[in-house]
Amino acid sequence: MTADLIGLIAGTLLTLLVLSYILGDNPLYRLALHLLVGATVGYGVAVTTVTVLQTVLPALQSDSPDRVRALIPLVLGILLLFKGFPRWSAWGNFSTALLVGVGAAVAMGGALVGTIIPQTAAVGSLNVWLREGSAGLINGLIVMIGTIGALLAFAFAVPRQPALRRLWNGSVGVLGQIGRLFLLAALGAAFGTALTASLTVLVGRVYAVVTGIQQLLTLIGMSSG
């Protein structure tokens, strides 16, 4: 009970401190912020450490193949710690190299298999549009033009020969301009959704403060009366 009471007070107080940023940056907010940074980092280090231990240690105790499989990353991980010392930093290159290599492949795989191809297919899937009849067809066409335009809006190359450049500006350029509008439509929507989502959180916090104070008051009332 008391632990929860203290917690309630602490939580409400901290929330208030952070909320004070809305009225302007101030020492109380900074205090809360530094508390937060410290807390999250400590928490994160603890959780990752324990998770790794839980995954690696059993494997280390087990027999040969698993042990090797656990040992290599362990060694590379320890090598990575050399990055902390400029003199020996180079020994960590193996570990960073593996991270970069694997990460690059993961990202590429995701981009190819998960984004480029499915999205491309989705844009041009005529049959899906037709499910919703003529309206669907129109929407589908709009999406297609918008997507192509947005893609071309990013084109980096610019031909240098005047004639070519004129042609380019006439075709790719114009489509790009249209595409840019669609990009902004998406950005605006993203802005709106982000605002809605974070508003929900903000309201939640204000609500938490109000209820917290209410609870405290009732508790005080009980203790006094």
Binding site: A3, G7, A10, T12, L14, T15, V18, L19, R30, H34, L35, V37, A39, V41, G42, V45, A46, T48, T55, L80, K83, G84, A90, W91, N93, F94, A97, L98, V100, G101, V102, A104, A105, A107, A111, L112, V113, T115, Q119, V123, N139, I142, V143, G146, A150, L151, F182, L184, A185, A186, G188, F191, G192, A194, L195, S198, V201, L202, G204, R205
Partner: protein, 209 residues
């Protein structure tokens, strides 16, 4: 030797592992797929060690800042980090002490994190107010309309205006915004693809000189 350690070996590691993992994605047949997952698991374990690096970097930076004016915050940060580390470790390793970690998470970590996340709403509101101050292209109007439609479309306003707005919002989400989003996603995909190729062909070596 020097070159070997600093350049050749790392490059071959990066390229080799990268190609293996990529193969695992492009033809996910049993041996390749499992190799891919194994390598990814390694990457996860190595990344965990990076947390230790990060932790010490944080301590170094803030112990340095602690001596400067306003250093009190850095001191607080270091102390909190230590506390959090100890409490969480205790909670995770010793079941009987779990309540400590839970308390810390529930009454300190959660409210703070959530409230900072809530601040985003505020800064976005300020940005919305000043939208036309900085952006003077015609497109900004599209952005403005989009933001308003999405914002008001979620409101359970009384019919008919409510329904009309809600439908408009749905359409906006599924057609114009969708088009822009897809263009963006595909484009980013292409960018990723090419940086990836540079890395996997060893022409970019962020991990060595």
């Amino acid at each position: 030797m020097d070159r070997l350690v600093k350049r050749i070996l790392p490059t071959s590691i990066a390229v080799g592992t990268g190609l293996l993992v990529l193969l695992g994605y492009l033809l996910p047949v049993p041996p390749l797929a499992s190799v891919r997952d194994e390598l990814i698991r390694w990457a996860v374990i190595i990344a965990a060690f990076a947390f230790i690096l990060g932790f010490f970097n944080l301590l170094r930076v803030h112990s340095g800042r602690a001596r400067k004016p306003g250093g009190i915050y850095s001191v607080i940060l270091i102390l909190t980090a230590m506390t959090s580390l100890v409490l969480t470790l205790a909670a995770l390793l010793i079941p009987s002490l779990r309540f400590l970690g839970d308390w810390w998470f529930r009454y300190v970590l959660s409210p703070l994190q959530a409230t900072v996340a809530g601040l985003i709403a505020f800064v976005l509101a300020v940005a919305a107010f000043r939208l036309l101050r900085h952006r003077r292209e015609a497109g900004v109007l599209v952005f403005l309309v989009a933001a308003l439609v999405v914002l008001l479309g979620t409101l359970p306003l009384p019919a008919p205006a409510g329904n009309w707005l809600a439908n408009l919002r749905t359409w906006w989400m599924n057609v114009p915004a969708m088009a822009g989003m897809r263009g963006l996603l595909i484009g980013v995909g292409l960018g990723v693809l090419l940086v990836g190729l540079r890395v996997l062909t060893g022409s970019d070596r962020p991990y060595s000189d």
